[in-house]
Structure formats: C-alpha cells, structure tokens
C-alpha cells in the first residue's frame, strides 16, 4: 500500500510538472511534446487504477494520433517562439487572474458535484474482467451513445474534407 501511494504521488508530481511545462515553455513544439508526456502519464494513471483498456485508448488516440497531428502541424509553421499573446499591463493581468480563478472554480465545482466516492468492489477485479465488463456495458447499456458516436465521427470526417476544399480564408489570393 505504501509503495502504491509513493508511486501515485510521484506520477502525480510528474503529471503536474509536465502540464505546467506545456503552458510555460516558449517553443510551441516543446509544448506539444510535453503534452505527449502528459498524455502518457495520464495513461499510466488510468492503468494503475485498473482501467487498462482506457489507458491503452489514451495512448493510441491521444499520444499516438491527436498529438502526432499537432506536432505535424507545428513543424510546418516556423514558430521559433510563441509571440506573447497578452500584454503585460495591469488590466490584462487582472483579467488573467480572474479568468484563471473562474476556470479553477468551475473545475472544482464540477468535480465536487460529479464525483461520488464508491465502495471498493467486492473481490479484487481481474484486469481482463474489467475490459470485458466495459465491452458488455458499452454495447448494452450505453448502446445509444456508442452508435451516436459513430455518426458524430462521420459528420466530423465530412466536415474536415469540406473545410479542406474551401477556397478563401486567410490565404486566399485576391
């Protein structure tokens, strides 16, 4: 138990460090790479909680697909450093603090109202069983959400192709 606690807090520490780095490093590519590390850390957090399949999906989809796209896009712009997007004035500083507080409050409130502490399930769950249960639940109880997701992904695919066809925008030739 002690070892698990130590492992968890070390992982949590690394996660917070990486996600802090994501927003603090000036080079956007480094920022994206730190985000990859954050995703991998999140995946191992899921894994340690017993949600092995979710951990695998986290790696395949976020670290292996979404972040590859991000890195690919960032590589093609010659962004040596991020241009400061806000001025350093008093008003914008106050705005930044206020919006940070607002987001933190929202996150805390959301977390507190949505999290219920469950009792530990009877008997230690075998990892394979958790995945199997997930599969059975996904295709029975949450069937509607699952099928809607398929249609949503189709809509996104169509939208992507449509946007890529669009002439105009910031690079239009006048």
């Amino acid at each position: 138990m002690m070892m698990e606690a130590i492992a968890f807090y070390m992982l949590a520490g690394f996660l917070i460090f990486f996600s802090y780095k994501v927003i603090s490093v000036p080079n956007p590519l480094h920022s994206a790479l730190y985000l990859v590390l954050t995703m991998l850390g999140l995946a191992s957090a899921f894994f340690n909680l017993g949600a092995q399949f979710i951990a695998g999906v986290q790696v395949i989809v976020y670290a292996g697909a979404v972040m590859v796209l991000f890195v690919m896009v960032l590589m093609l712009f010659d962004l040596k450093t991020e241009i400061r997007s806000f001025s350093r004035g008093l008003i914008s500083g106050a705005l930044k603090v206020m919006s940070a507080a607002l987001i933190a409050g929202l996150a805390l409130g959301g977390a507190r109202s949505s999290v219920t502490v469950l009792d530990a399930p009877a008997g230690a769950a075998v990892p394979g069983d958790v995945t199997r249960q997930l599969g059975i639940l996904l295709y029975t109880k949450y069937l509607f959400a699952f099928e809607i997701l398929g249609i949503l992904l189709l809509a996104v695919a169509v939208g992507v192709v449509a946007v890529s066809r669009m002439k105009g925008g910031t690079h239009a030739r006048h």
């Binding site: 790479l33 399949f53 695998g56 790696v59 395949i60 292996g64 075998v126």
Partner: protein, 386 residues
C-alpha cells in the same frame, strides 16, 4: 505482497536480456541482410573481416563510434540528439510485452539461511493484461522519433521525409489495427498468453454449434485468418519503413529522408529502431498466426516435459521454457528472413500508390475480413437448437 530481492533481481535480469536482444539483433541482421542481398544478387558480400565476414559487425561498431559528431548549424541540438533515442524506445517496449516462451516456476528453496520462493516467472519482459492494445499503443508512438529527426535537422528534405514517413505510418496503422480485430474475434482475448495457449492444441472449432476436431492440423490462427495475416504482415512492412514501403528515405527524391543529417552512432540508433520494428512484427505474426512458442503436436509444454524423463522435468522448468524459446526464435528468424528477402526482390512504390494501397485497398479488405469473420463466427458458434 511477495516481492523480495530475488524476484526483483530476476525481473531486472529479464529487462537486461530483452534490451540486449533488441540491441544485439541489429548487427546480426545487418550481416544477414548484406550477405543475403549478396546471395540474391549473385555477389559475395562482406567476407573479408573474420570468418564469413562476421567480424564486420565489430568493425562497423568501431566505425560508428569513431565517426565525427555532427550537428547542423541551424538545427535544434536537443531535438536532434533526442530523436534517435526516441526512435529506439517504442520497438523495445512492444517487444517486452510479447511472450517468448512458457512461464517458469521456481520451487521454494533455501539460500543464505533464508527461505525463498516459490516463484512464477513469465518468460517475457512483463505481462500486460491487455497485451494487444499495449503493443498497438506503444508502436503508435513510433512517429515521434521520425518527426523529431525531421524537425531537429532543420533540413528541407529531412522534413519532407519525416512528413511522408509519419503520414505513411499512421495510414497503415489503420489497416494494421483493423486486421487484428479478426484475431481478437477468433480468440476473444487481448492477452498474448491466452492466444498462444489456444493455438497449442489440435485444430478445433465449432461447426453449427457442434465441436469439430481435426487432429492432423494445429489450431493456428493462419488457418482461420489467412487474409488478416497477409494484411497484417504487409502493414507491418510499412510500419517498419521497409522496402517496398521505404518512401521516407527514397534516395532519388529526398537525399536520405529524415536521417539525411545523421551519422555515426545516431544513425545506427535509427537502424536499431527499424530492425526492432521488424523483430516486433515477426514476433506478432508468430504469436497471432503461427502458434507462438509452441509447435503442436511435437513441441508444447506437455510434450517437451516428457522428453527428459530422467531429469524430473516439468512443464514449468527452465529447460522446457528454453526449448520452447528456441521454437519461437526459429519461427521469428523465418519471418525476419522474409523481411530481408522481400526488400531485395520488390521495387519501391510511388507515393500515391502507397497511400492508395493503404486507404483504398488494405482498409476495405481489412473491413471485409472483419465482417466475414464476424458472420462466420456467428453462424458457427451460435448454439443451434440448444
């Protein structure tokens, strides 16, 4: 918890062994590749240094180490140095999750005045319950080494090569992921050990709800999933950036692709990554379709245990595991040779043909394979009349 020094020590040794297998396979494969290509092209190949030219490996290593360190002036040194290291990691991690032989039991024993044991060790780097998903996830990280190399070199051709490579890798990952669905449907498991266990038996399947056994064939995945096997193997070629899919380093168009600026040991590390992918691909093919470390009916944990009757060998002895490990390695070597053979036989694709093949040929065929498998399994396994 039963973790003590002995167990930690053995696990540490296993890690070192996996790591050494990864690194040592490269010089050997390079030698096989050079001699093999020479054989195919009716040449001699490297035969001067040592017997059969085998000392060429050591000579190459020395040469790699003494090459001048070079970083392009405009490049990003950290990313430039990090890329080859990152390129080695995914293949090694994926290889660690594949079972190399049957598990080993160590009886309780007494040593240095203390009781140790009994232990059960898996003959693999680490056992992950969701083995297939783990391997897929880890190998999807392979794009980063290539992308970092292309960006860190600040070279136009390296960048193009990296982009091509990553676009190719992700395109073929789809066909790869989908062709594995058929395997999972067949064995109903993500776990490699269970998949191998199911294949270490005479061929048996459900025919309209009745169990049928064909005693003259092993229960290998290839007999149920021939199309899936072909699709997976072709996608693996593309994942490892091997010819005929080596567009990222097409010399005629892109100098040398993403490793244009690399030399010396950094270049060698990209090689370790590429050959590591070949190793993982061969191991996966063997595990999914060719019975893993067993060869029914001659070589399974049960039969090997009966070989040495005088030595009180059991199914979980180290010697049994080593014999079965030999079986696994023999199968893997066969697939590695196919990788080399294909490289020196087929010409390279054009880039549009490559993307066409991935998206418009292999992906629909993999879909077809999945649907066909699902339908057949539904009809065959449905409890008719029950």
């Amino acid at each position: 918890m039963g973790i003590d020094v002995f167990e930690i020590g053995v696990n540490f040794v296993k890690m070192i062994a996996i790591f050494l297998m990864m690194v040592q396979i490269v010089p050997l494969l390079v030698w096989v590749e050079r001699r093999g290509s020479a054989y195919i092209q009716n040449r001699l190949g490297p035969n001067r240094v040592g017997p059969l030219g085998l000392m060429q490996l050591a000579a190459d290593a020395v040469k790699f180490l003494t090459k001048e360190e070079f970083v392009p002036k405009r490049g990003y040194p950290f990313l430039f140095y990090a890329a080859p290291v990152v390129a080695m990691v995914p293949a090694a991690l994926a290889f660690g999750a594949i079972p190399l032989s049957s598990p080993v039991m160590v009886e309780a024993f007494e040593w240095m005045g203390q009781h140790w044991g009994p232990y059960s060790f898996k003959f693999q780097g680490y056992e992950i319950g969701i083995g297939i998903v783990f391997v897929l996830g880890v190998s999807s990280l392979a794009a980063y080494g290539v992308l970092l190399a292309g960006y860190g070199s600040a070279n136009k051709y390296a960048l193009y090569g990296a982009l091509r490579a990553s676009a190719q890798t992700i395109s073929y990952e789809l066909a790869m992921g989908l062709s594995i669905v058929g395997v999972i449907l067949l064995f109903n498991s993500f776990n490699f050990a269970e998949i191998v266990g199911a294949q270490s038996a005479p061929m048996n399947f459900m025919l309209f709800g009745k169990k049928v056994e064909l005693a003259f064939l092993p229960n290998w995945g290839i007999f149920y999933q021939p199309l899936g096997a072909v699709l997976l193997f072709s996608a693996m070629f593309a994942e490892a950036n091997r010819l005929p899919f080596d567009l990222p380093e097409a010399e005629g168009e892109l100098v040398a692709g993403y490793h244009t600026e690399y030399s010396g040991f950094k270049f060698n590390m990209f090689f370790i990554g590429e050959y590591g992918h070949m190793l993982v691909a061969s191991a996966l093919m063997v595990t999914f379709f060719f019975g893993g470390y067993t060869l029914w009916p001659w070589l399974t944990p049960e039969t090997v245990a009966k070989w040495f009757t005088g030595m009180s060998l059991t199914q979980t002895s180290l010697l049994t595991a080593l014999v079965l490990h030999g079986v696994f390695l023999a199968k893997v070597v066969l697939f590695l040779w196919i990788f080399i053979w294909v490289r020196w036989t087929l010409p390279r694709f054009r880039y549009d043909q490559l993307m066409d093949l991935g998206w418009r040929t292999m992906l629909p065929w993999a879909l077809f394979n999945t649907i066909l498998t699902a339908v057949v399994i539904l009809i065959m396994r449905h409890p008719w009349g029950a």
